[in-house]
């Protein structure tokens, strides 16, 4: 159920994001989802790709600092209130959300939200016990 997210350190200067995407493109790696957290001086690019095992060495070879983190991909109905249910469950279990970002998938009835929490295993248990759908990693990569 754990999905591998790749994080890349980016200095805030022009051309760096273009270079990351170039490296991925040259290596035939497809991006599934991405988000950037930025400050004045640097940004952290977070990526879900179709082949993380290939992407990490390619990016390192390209001179980037890269790390991988386990995140959760939660599938929610595309209707008001459905995300709040998952959030409430985590809150009740005292699991803090570090960050999250959402992306749409081909099934227009569902939305996919990526969660980064400290206690991943505990979060999986809480969500699954309460009937929340977690998308298996292989399916996320294949999407």
């Amino acid at each position: 159920m754990k999905v591998q997210q790749i994080s890349v350190f980016l200095e805030n200067k022009s051309g760096r994001l273009a270079r990351v995407t170039e490296v991925l493109g040259e290596n035939g790696i497809n991006i599934r989802a991405l988000s950037i957290a930025d400050t004045t001086d640097f940004g952290i690019l977070r990526l879900i790709v179709d082949d993380p095992e290939k992407a990490v060495p390619a990016l390192k070879k390209g001179g980037f600092v890269v790390s991988t983190t386990d995140v959760l991909a939660v599938e929610v109905d595309d209707k008001p209130g459905s995300l709040s249910e998952a959030m409430r469950l985590l809150e009740q279990a005292a699991i803090n959300i570090e960050y999250l970002y959402a992306f749409v998938q081909k099934n227009p009835q569902k939305a996919l939200v990526v969660f980064r929490v400290e206690q991943v295993d505990q979060a999986i248990r809480v969500l699954q016990d309460n009937g929340v759908t977690l998308m298996p990693s292989q399916e996320v990569y294949k999407m």
Binding site: F9, L10, A37, T39, I44, G63, V65, S67
Partner: protein, 433 residues
Amino acid sequence: MYWQEKYETMSREELRELQFTRLKALVERLYNQVPFYKERFKEKGILPGDIKSLEDLKHLPFTTKQDLRDTYPFGMFAVPMEQVLRLHASSGTTGKPIVVGYTKEDLETWGHLVARCLKMVGASPKDVVQNAYGYGLFTGGLGIHYGTEILGATVVPISGGNTDRQLMLMQDFGTTVLTCTPTYALFLAEEAHAGRVDWDRIKLKIGIFGAEPWSDAMRKQLEERWNIKAIDIYGLSEVLGPGVACECLHQNGLHVFEDHFIPEIIDPDTLEPLPFGQKGELVFTSLTKDAFPVLRYRTKDISVLYADKCDCGRTHIRMERITGRTDDMLIIRGVNVFPSQVESVLLEFGETEPHYLLVVDRRGSMDDLEIRVEVSEKMFSDKVRGLEDLEKRLRARILSVLGISAKIKLVEPKSIPRSEGKAKRIIDKRLME
């Protein structure tokens, strides 16, 4: 363990006697052969006969870098040119270069001193020494080269740069000793760890690094990354070249070869000699050089001398690794700052690459210090909070060590230019106006 045991383990009394005999002869020679020194002696009202003990050294005049420039090219030579076999020179980036010369005997002495260094860290004729110091007018390359040959080890005169070739030969030739600047050794390690070598074929066991100030933390990194003993060697062309002093395997300061050089530490402001254990500017008198002897040469290097006994059995006093230079020293908001201080803070954290750059600027009447630090894998976090926390901790530590606040700027790996010689650690924009 010793190359010239008689001299390396001489009793202090014998050593002082030898130094005094040699000092007297040197003063005589300088007075008679070098007009510059005769003039200086006259100004001070000193005659060679006034040197009655080793303590009288403190009455003798200093020699500065400027003096060496003013007498360019051969004004300081104490022998006729037909006796000079070799010339070396500084790069001369800040004016005329400093030219130094060597007679046949000087080259032999030099070779034996470098052989002492190699021997005292365990090298033998079985070793293959990859010499990645620059060859040419710079004394590093040829100095190590001849010393290695005198020791009888195999020397690979590859010179600096050409990293791919360095790593290839290191594997193919089974290099056991690497000699270069610490910065370049670290760069080579980075490349090696980036998958450029087959570690089973790396036989390296000793690294002899010098020509720029480095820290204990940097030593630790070099030792871990290469799985070697990293040894500090010291020398400067004005005094000889590499081999003025070197660490033994106890790595507890560098033994100064006192049978050839008298080291002193002085207060750079008052010029008064300081006692053992006190930090100040290193000064050297070369006792035995024929072609280009120097009297009380002010190196601008900051160090400390220690006289306590070393477990290796050598009686020569030790100097602390160079922690900075009087001319490398930045004055920021009235505070003295050495790049090496910043380096040791960064390495203390163990999370950062030791690649950094100090950028000093002036905003209005205020000096600003920005420290650019390359982010390493170990310190990188997918959370903004994690990186901001690191910046905060670095800032606090810099404040407590340097006494000034600095802006920490995390930058991407390899974004600070690498050097194959001495690392460039400072951009002082205040000087560019």
